[in-house]
Symmetry: D2
Subunit: 470 residues, 4 copies
């Protein structure tokens, strides 16, 4: 496996395999095979030469580490690969060598190879997103009516529904599925521009060759090469960063709700999961940990993509190469975060009692806005706000229920007398009533989300043609 | 003007005005006016109270700097604004105060205000993008047949067309227009979630109120509040960063082509433009300078947006606030870069003679790939490549034309004899023939781009309702 | 004030004033005055001309906004400033005009002006850091013996001391004072290189002129101009980012400890502080909010500095200009975060009872590592760890004290019998004993920190010479 | 090799080996061996147990990939490593197991292991920096008197010396050597804090154990654990980013001077270096390419370090783990860039004729500032600047020498008559005279730099103790 331990520790084995060196080299060979077969189909290459070349486009025939070692010197991984392929073809059929890599250039090979791998990454991501959305819908269904503290600026705000939290976590994931697909249709395109990017070496056959190759490699056929117009490619990478951010949000909430003093949720337990090298009592939220680690990294990777979006002239010096190196890491990070949370959310432990206990401890102050609104007609908005603010402070300091304090004030304070009846007070502080709206919202939005998910079948993984090069 | 000199130096006056404090405060007041009028329309607020409140929603009635000063202490600019508005309403009609800001929260005000300003920014950006695309199409038309050196890794690669370069600069700008519009339709939405983001304070009237407000403020009406689901908003901001990157690419190319030793293009001259405090001969490319400066900054601003995409729980502590501060700067930078290049491209000086001179100096080596391809059947690909490589080195070192050297070799070297006739050599090195393909591409793509531009009329600036609050 | 509301909201008025346009322009004029006076002292400029020019180096004599407006066109703020100064000098004494800006260049003026302002920023930062360290030392002294839950990966880990937390927050702040000073001595230097950066226009008088100017402007006199060697300058900016990160750490901990369910600390209360536009009960941690917002932004600003560290050739196109614009924001952010936390820490509310309550609720599991260590000789390390792990899970699930469960196991389980006596169990679970070590560490490190602080007197603000230009 | 191809392509084999998985795991085992031996030395562990454990601290005894696979589940690479070590010890001597990892925690192992590897990276970096400085000093010596165009904002500015450019490239590299060493003394420290970071598990023996371990592992012994005070560690990482930026500046200049139309320098040639898969004539600047690619990436990696500088409470969730993953990449990038440029600068091709030719083509306008200064007493500064500006424009447009035009103007124009004699004109435009000052500066600064380099012997690589664990 050609990824370092400290990266794999925050990734999934599946996504690391997608971007492993062996897979990259094979994707580059797949490009060369598709290129020569397409030209054969267009009559620019003898069929026998195409067969010879395509048969030799198997990474296992070559010394991968030696190709990588030569790439630094050459300035491109494609150069030694094409040289070795040419050398192999010359052994079999010297007359076929002119057709190796004909009409193409290093950037065509590398950009297309990454597109091929990214298509596999997208299938992994889509499937795990779909599963995660379903887990969250199940939680939303089970907990639509579960009251939970809504927290703003890390302080209690109002009563909400835990099911609604789950729906809100899920909605951006479904949007990520849609946007990734949409942007993949634009950005996951064959690269075929030749030396100067204008396709002149293939001439009028270019579009047909490109169409043939795109079909074989399961990529979009662009209207023109995108050597230095990397905006659609970058937008696709940015979607990975947005997704990682949306996963980071879930992880943040889970980690906060999982603190010992809060304990409203817990990650599932399993042998070997989330222990400590020193502390036997430890149960660390390792799923949230992985997602948060990747969410800390993705924005900066996205920035590097953006910073290298516009290479100089017809191919950049350093910028394009930097973006090649960053690209796989962005997807490894996104799927690492996703796979970690998928496992957590499939078996999340939820503790409604703790949620209720925290609401109880707040003495009803989360209903303060509603109480103030009811006092406002009598006192004016500002005075009502201040009056309730003072009662809230007292309720929390003296551990007394706010409704009781308010009722006393309504009884004892001249300016408040009659402003609100005791029944109105009870109504304002009724937790079951307070959760009714967010619960309904949770149900409404869960239904819409379920419908959207149903409309979007899981992306099929691309067929693996690499074993059948001809 | 509430932007510092070193920012305005890299911006346009128009975009700085869009995000000036006065405009921000008025947009916040526009939100409050729209909120109360919408509730009046739904029967939740007496019409007279709505009129009173809306009439007082004019920023010039308040002490803006004092509001800003209070915001740091309060933790939100909306809090002192609502307090002062409430105080003003109390002076006119105390009974109207309960309806000020009713059912809403700070985040609703601030997010919506930024959306209002961003809509204006988008109109500026779209108009200037459209104009810039037209300038580039005119250049493409004039210079489709102008041969220019295609350069990869900052070294000469092949013959291309300057008109094609212009089309390639323009295409991402047209895509930016389309994507900005598409993403604005998703992300430029009213924010209306109330304290906990679930809209409970407005209840079943919420959707109607939101629809009413969205129409009044010319924003999209979202299905639900997006307090902590900022993915669509962030995607819109990322479009600004992608655009700035595409502009940076143009600036890079212009700056490189404008070097004294290259001198293939020059920025237009004007009194006071691009001089030096010390050097009388200086003509600095200040348009490219501004665009490059902003292209250096945008990726990191985008990273901050991404890093604050997922605020904790129902409203973040610090993350949301950071994203508020970064947002205007992203648009100021994008339009600063655009306005600078728009001026440059409208009157770009182009020097075809210099382009031809540089091609001449290369002794024909840019045709080396084609020459090697013709030798390949006889020598094999690798040997043909090496043979031409050696001749190229000699041509450049000895300042001799490559076709002459090649003809000599075809005549004198046993292994080459007869591999290619002199006519074939002349055909390979014919510059006019070499530019034919890229010129045709330039025309084909320019036509497609012109059609796309024609399909997309310039975005109308939003009507300014702020003078008519009722 | 020439900073936008959404920036001032997260800043301090003092630091915004340091980087206000008026201050920047005056600093640029201060450079010009110092330049001409230094040349007069070296006999290169007639004394009367120097006096004339220096007298006119007062920002209030000029139309600042017009200078800024011209800067975008000119490509530098220094160009219109020098032009207007020259024009003013020509009115008073035409023969003095050749000496205006003589031997210098735009970059000299702007870099030096920012150094002048940064020196003032550093004085603000140092004073507030010193005060904050003292507040934390006072807290450390008061709470060295206060047991608190040490938390790793957001889960309870062991018993620690709240005083030790305070010392650990303070230590990086004291280091920041030291490093900022050290790096300012290297990086806060006069810029004087002339048009090409090599100082040729001043020739052999250059060093004497630079020394004279550096003394007058209270800056270091560098061995050579640093136009394109910006490493020391960038290192100084990075110190601002490191400081902001250290402040962000404090804010994170305070925000977490201030959650309603934890409530171990609270920000001080004051009228108008941390309220809500909707929720009367809200007490938002606005100090932590500001510090966190700036901590989210500083890393990316630092990245932009790093990305523009190496401008092309003898002065960059876009990169240098971008770094000018980013620089003030980095310091505004750092001091904004610092000022916010300084206020919080001066009057932090600390609740030792809550800290104890959370320890109580953990049933002694935080002593698990020590308990496992005592069982290890009898059972082996792995088995001891597992045995205690199982008991911990039971203690938390059944709300039973771990020591009682352990004593029962030692009594009942054959393999444990006699492994540990009840006294040993009690010793392991003695909280007072557990806090003794961290408390001693808190005292030892607080003493060392106090000594370090005492060795470093607060940085005196630079004398303001701008009122006395001759 | 556990690094992906697209990273190795931009790195050196030496630095990739430093951070290879095998090296990381061995460094972790080195920590465990040092820990138990230090405790044996302090009498806390029986000598025989220490010997047993230390003997088993050899990475080759374990299944590395299995450890990495378990780490994602466990949440730390140290947990499975300690478990497997414990299991191995139990096979040899069950009584020794309690002493494995005693008093320590995962973070101690991982942070220290990275410090061990970083020390090796620093030795590589220092040696290659020293060699590169010597190459640049040799170039400076050879080319101090070689006139070259100084270029600002990518436009010709004045005459300078190519030797001075070389010195200016070298100075930040020498400073990097000094600062890396200085910061390594602070930041490259043993980590030993135990579960909660306060060292309680080792108690009063802690300092002695730490001193023993630090000596054995060739690291600094910190006053206290730095689990959550990562400022000094981050400052060390930032030095890597600053260095990469300084290397990027050299690469930018080399790439620009190496453009075909400039051709003032060229990268050395070698078989297989800088070719193209398509274009036989191509000689790509692959050294600059690698350095630029890494310079594009380092700022963002630094930002991630800064963003994770302040983990929550006593050990972070996600932030610390992200910083572990980023750390090696920062050093791999820095040394990748350095190694690439070291090779280039050791054999850089310099073309003084081309430098002279470009100066010739500028018709003397680079002397315009000096000419304007001589006219200023007669015309006033502004008029002199404008007059020379107009003459410069004519000289360039008409390809006429500026001195001739100036002499004609001095002869023909009434207002200029007698302002300057022809000898003064010749003196102003004397290129040899113009290069005298920068040449002297080049020599002065080269001498100072050589002296500084001589004072700083190359950092010895740390002795490799890993083969001798007892």
């Amino acid at each position: 496996v050609t990824w370092p331990a400290l990266e794999r520790f925050l990734a999934s084995p599946a996504i690391v395999a997608v971007f492993d060196d062996a897979a990259l080299l094979q994707a580059m060979f797949d490009f060369e095979a598709a290129l020569v077969r397409a030209q054969a189909a267009c009559g620019r290459v003898p069929a026998s030469a195409a067969t010879t070349i395509a048969h030799l486009c198997r990474a296992e025939l070559y010394d991968g580490p030696a190709l990588v070692a030569a790439s630094a010197r050459a300035g491109s991984l494609a150069i030694p690969l094409v040289q070795e392929l040419t050398r192999a073809v010359a052994l079999v059929d010297p007359h076929a060598t002119p057709y190796v890599h004909q009409g193409s250039t290093s950037q065509d090979v590398l950009d297309t190879a990454l597109a091929i791998l990214t298509r596999r990454a997208l299938a992994l991501v889509d499937a795990d997103l779909a599963a995660t959305v379903q887990s969250l819908l199940a939680l939303a269904d089970a907990h639509a009516d579960t009251p939970v503290t809504a927290r703003t600026l890390l302080q209690p705000a109002q009563v909400s529904s835990f099911g609604l939290k789950c729906v809100q976590w899920a909605e951006p994931l479904q949007r990520a599925r849609e946007r990734l697909r949409e942007q993949a249709a634009r950005g996951l395109a064959l690269q075929l521009g030749g030396a100067a990017g204008h396709g002149g070496a293939l001439g009028a056959d270019g579009p047909a060759i490109a169409a043939h190759m795109a079909a074989a490699l399961h990529l979009a056929a662009p209207d023109a090469a995108w050597h230095t117009q990397r905006d659609e490619w970058v937008r696709l990478g940015l979607e990975a960063a947005v997704l990682t951010g949306s996963l980071g949000k879930i992880a943040t909430d889970l980690a906060l709700m999982g603190q010992a003093e809060v304990a409203e949720v817990a990650e599932p337990t399993a042998p070997g999961r989330g222990g400590s090298s020193a502390m036997p009592h430890k149960r660390n939220p390792v799923g949230a940990m992985v997602a948060l680690a990747q969410a800390h990294r993705a924005p900066q990777r996205a920035a590097t993509l953006l910073a290298t979006l516009g290479p100089a002239h017809e191919r950049g010096l350093g910028d394009w190469q930097a973006s090649l190196a960053e690209w796989p890491a962005l997807w490894v990070g996104a799927h690492g975060a996703l796979a970690a949370l998928k496992d957590v959310l499939a078996r999340l432990q939820v503790f409604p009692d703790a949620m209720a206990r925290h609401l109880d401890a707040l003495q009803g102050v989360l209903h303060a806005e509603a109480a103030a609104a009811l006092l406002a007609p009598a006192l004016g908005k500002a005075a009502a706000h201040q009056r309730i603010e003072a009662l809230c402070a007292r309720a929390l300091a003296e551990h007394q229920p706010l409704p009781a304090l308010l009722k006393a004030a309504l009884r004892d304070d001249a300016d408040l007398r009659g402003a609100m009846g005791p029944d109105a007070v009870d109504a304002v502080f009724d937790r079951a009533a307070a959760v009714r709206w967010p619960a309904a919202e949770a149900r409404r939005r869960a239904a819409a989300l379920a419908a959207a998910a149903a409309r979007l079948p899981v992306l099929a993984p691309p067929p693996d043609d690499s074993g059948d090069p001809v």
